[in-house]
């Protein structure tokens, strides 16, 4: 597995990329991306963040050749964005799963497999594997128009992986997914990273990005505002966090005294809380293991967490 780093090979290289949308008469309407320069290293999970209209999807579509840059250059897997042969090694999950709704899951994967010129045996093998991976084997014969949004995202992801791509481009990969699907998607992204694949994802769900991305870029108004490793960008250099087993009140007071002695102050002491996603997943897991169990008054927390 290759590790991302400064010396790693660039899979995507964007230089001074600008996109101006024009109206019918050729007049400038909006500058969606402005002089964007960044690169994505091999083997990393890269997040492209920004509010709606910040230019992240436009950037992604220029990478794929769906839109043409007004200025600037894109090199993707060593080729120009307009070179169709680059697509041999790319998997793309669009923002919405724009698939053919009259096909069923098997036909969908078979169709996209044929676009990669894969043999029938190979297509069958990949179809089986991917239907299991995205957990929709049970609905393989149903037309996509009968799928829920979550299932549609799953089959969309499966089609993006049909060619076992080196580079996976995901546009809002977790949108429309329930927490279980969300967790599966994030696990899958991390799994792709473990396999040495490069992932570029666009999202405005910051928690998801934080969970899986090695590096991020934040766009605003079509311009690059922040670029760097997630852990470095989020690390606070002005405070220190210590996690210990449960302490008594006396022990806490003693620690506070030690901190004062060293010229520091205790800002916050509390019991760590699990995040809502963890709680939800735990509840679902327990419900599966113990069907029929219901919420009772005794299950309520006895007292609110201590705060200092």
């Amino acid at each position: 597995m290759s590790q991302p780093g400064a010396a790693a090979e660039s899979v995507i290289d964007i230089r001074n990329l600008t996109k101006v949308y024009r109206d019918f008469w050729g007049r400038k309407k909006v500058r969606a991306v402005n002089a964007l320069t960044l690169d994505v290293k091999k083997g990393e999970v890269f997040g492209l963040l920004g509010p709606n209209g910040s230019g992240k999807t436009t950037t992604l579509k220029m990478l794929l050749g769906l839109l043409f840059p007004t200025e600037g250059e894109i090199t993707i897997l060593g080729k120009s964005a307009s070179d169709v042969s680059k697509n041999e090694r790319i998997g793309y999950l669009p923002e919405e799963s724009y698939l053919y709704r009259f096909l069923n899951a098997e036909e969908t994967l078979d169709f996209y497999g044929r676009l990669f010129n894969m043999s029938a045996a190979k297509r069958r093998e990949r179809t089986e594997m991917l239907l299991d991976l995205v957990k929709i084997s049970h609905a393989r014969k149903r037309q996509l128009k009968e799928y829920s949004k979550g299932m549609t995202r799953r089959i969309g992801l499966a089609q993006a992986l049909i060619n076992d791509p080196d580079l996976v481009l995901l546009d809002e990969p977790t949108s429309g997914l329930d927490p279980l699907g969300n967790r599966d998607m994030k696990d899958l992204i991390l799994d792709l990273k473990k396999q040495g694949k490069t992932v570029l994802m666009c999202s405005h769900l910051l928690g998801d990005v934080q969970d899986v991305c090695d590096r991020i870029a934040i766009l605003y108004g079509g311009e690059l505002k922040v670029l760097g490793r997630v852990d470095e960008l989020l690390r606070s250099q002005d405070s220190t966090q210590i996690l210990s087993s449960k302490l008594s009140d006396g022990a806490i007071k003693e620690i506070e005294a030690v901190l004062k002695k060293h010229g520091a102050s205790m800002q916050k002491v509390d019991h760590p809380t699990a995040n809502l996603e963890d709680l939800f997943l735990k509840t679902v897991q327990e419900s599966r293991e113990r069907p029929g169990r219901r919420f009772t008054v005794d299950d309520q927390p006895k007292s609110p967490p201590a705060k200092v």
Partner: protein, 552 residues
């Protein structure tokens, strides 16, 4: 509709196509260059050159597997979106058509088969045309609107493959539906035509010739115009030296029927005047002659022809022919048999396979009218199914043409506009060719007199007669030049609009009991379709290639 059709000259047709295609490429190249320069500045030249190179690369990177994937996707899409419901409409029409068609023609049994054949073939054409038009014009725009095309073009699929795959897929749908409809229609016709009239279901294979006229003095002429509204026929005057002379080529033993005889078939028209013996029925006479030596000739028996009748005449002649006198009476009793008989192939057909058939009107003061296709050697008939199948191929060619045009149009405009555009091209090609021909024809060969648009307006405003010469002067000179350029433009448009009359003619051949002529009808129709295939693929590919699929 004109049935007197020239045989297609393949080398000329290919040369003409290549010339027009080259002209089209030059115009497209200039427009593309100007557009690229205006959008990308000087980089536009490189962008355009890159696009052309990419097109060539894409052409040689076509993958049969991807093409079949896209074609079968198109097929499944049409099937699952209930395109086959057209069968229901077809079935309903055929179930009840018999009620309405039988009653009206019971008294005209001669036309019974014709009515059924016309109905079946026209129903297929006019049910399938709108269906294929809508499918082919909406496929790609819907793909773009729903963005499902994003998931295709972000795979290694070339946009050329998208265009070709769509064309193949819609072609497959049209072919399948037409094949089923054709089979059902055939069974319906066979069952619907009464047993007593089944002989009408024939497929005559005519051998037409070239027609010339001699005037009443025996000199070359054009025949007489008797003021008949059907002016395609010219008339010869009776009891004069006026003749209608067909020279027929490729006369060989293929014209012989199973009884070792050959058949002459004609449909002439009588025009009687009060000058002649009005009580006597008009007669005409065939004379078979060797074109190399017209002195070797054989007059055949006289044939009666009525006015205002369907004068279909069938003459069966053996390979050894008896001479007849001027009255058409056999000479065999009066002359030795060796001189009275002529061997058809040995004596009358020239070495290069030609024969002359002269037609004379016998009665003074009366006229017999004919056009080139009114007379032919009737080769042994083919099964009705042969002509029927050929006309289905003609409908198939039309459907493919609609698919090519529709898919090409749908790559640069949205579905409704593409539908309108394609429908206009097809309809003008079907019904406007004659009108356009009239407009661009020079006055010397029968075109409109009075000049072009501006000259005509000037003449109308100034009440000037169309035949009066325009005054000299720079304004008139410029006006005539502008008219000339407009006419040139119209001339080019006329050749860039497919001639769909070929497609419309084929059912008429079959309904009238003829085989669909290969060189005169079926081949030109197929060439029209083929001729539009490459330009349509070219337009479709470059439109899609230069188009931002996600443009806001």
């Amino acid at each position: 509709m004109n049935f007197d059709l020239p045989a297609v000259n393949l080398p000329y047709a290919i040369t003409q196509w290549a010339g027009f295609f080259l002209g089209f490429l030059i115009v497209v190249g200039i427009v593309s260059l100007l557009t690229s320069l205006s959008v990308y500045g000087t980089r536009g030249v490189a962008a355009l050159a890159g696009g052309v190179v990419q097109g060539i690369i894409d052409l040689f990177s076509l993958s049969p597997r991807r093409l079949s994937a896209l074609a079968s996707l198109t097929f499944k899409e049409a099937v699952r979106r209930k395109a086959l419901l057209v069968f229901v409409v077809f079935a309903v029409l055929f179930m009840f058509a018999g009620w309405f068609l039988t009653g009206g023609v019971e008294t005209q049994k001669d036309f019974q088969a014709k009515v059924y054949i016309s109905f079946a073939l026209r129903t297929m054409t006019w049910l399938l045309l709108p269906l294929i038009l809508l499918l082919s014009c909406w496929g790609i725009p819907e793909d773009i609107r729903q963005r499902s095309l994003h998931t295709v073009v972000t795979k290694p699929a070339r946009r050329l493959e998208v265009v070709l795959g769509r064309m193949i897929g819609f072609g497959m749908i049209g072919t399948l539906i037409l094949a089923v409809m054709g089979a059902v229609g055939y069974i319906w016709i066979i069952r619907q035509v009464p047993a007593s009239e089944q002989h009408q279901l024939i497929c005559r294979d005519p051998l037409f010739g070239k027609l010339e006229f001699l005037d009443r003095e025996g000199g070359k002429g054009l025949g007489v115009n008797v003021g008949d509204r059907l002016d395609f026929r010219s008339f010869i005057e009776g009891a004069t030296k006026a003749r209608a002379i067909w020279t027929i080529e490729n006369v060989n033993e293929s014209i012989l029927h199973s009884n070792n005889c050959f058949q002459l078939e004609s449909r002439f028209e009588a025009f009687r005047t009060h000058k002649g013996d009005f009580k006597r029925t008009t007669y005409f006479q065939y004379t078979l002659a060797n074109p190399d030596n017209p002195a070797i000739n054989v007059p055949l028996s006289l044939i009666k022809i009525d006015e205002f009748r369907n004068n279909a005449n069938f003459v069966t002649v053996g390979p050894t022919i008896q001479l007849a006198d001027a009255e058409g009476k056999p000479l065999s009793n009066a002359a030795p048999p060796a001189e009275a008989n002529k061997d058809f192939f040995k004596d009358l057909v020239s070495k290069d396979g030609k024969i002359q058939v002269q037609v004379a009107c016998i009665d003074p003061g009366q006229y017999v009218g004919m056009s080139r296709v009114d007379f032919f050697f009737r080769k042994p008939d083919k099964p009705f199914a042969v002509g029927y199948a050929k006309s289905l191929i003609g409908i198939e060619s039309l459907l493919l043409l609609v698919v090519f045009l529709g898919v090409a149009a749908s790559t640069f405009v949205k579905g409704p506009v593409a539908t309108f555009l394609t429908a206009c091209i097809i309809l003008v090609g079907m019904f406007g060719q004659g009108f356009m021909d009239e407009l661009i024809k020079a006055p010397e060969i029968g075109g409109f007199t009075g000049g072009g648009v501006f000259e005509s307006v000037y003449r109308i405003v100034t009440h000037m007669n169309p035949t009066t010469e325009l005054p000299a002067g720079p304004a008139f000179f410029i006006m005539q030049w502008v008219d000339y350029l407009l006419k040139l433009y119209l001339w080019s448009v006329r050749y860039y609009i497919p001639n769909c009359e070929h497609f419309m003619r084929m059912p008429e051949f079959v309904a009238n009991g003829f085989d669909v002529l290969w060189a005169e009808s079926l081949l030109p129709a197929m060439l029209v379709t083929l001729g539009f295939f490459i330009p349509c693929v070219f337009i479709g590919y470059f439109s899609l290639q230069s188009r931002e699929l996600e443009s806001k």
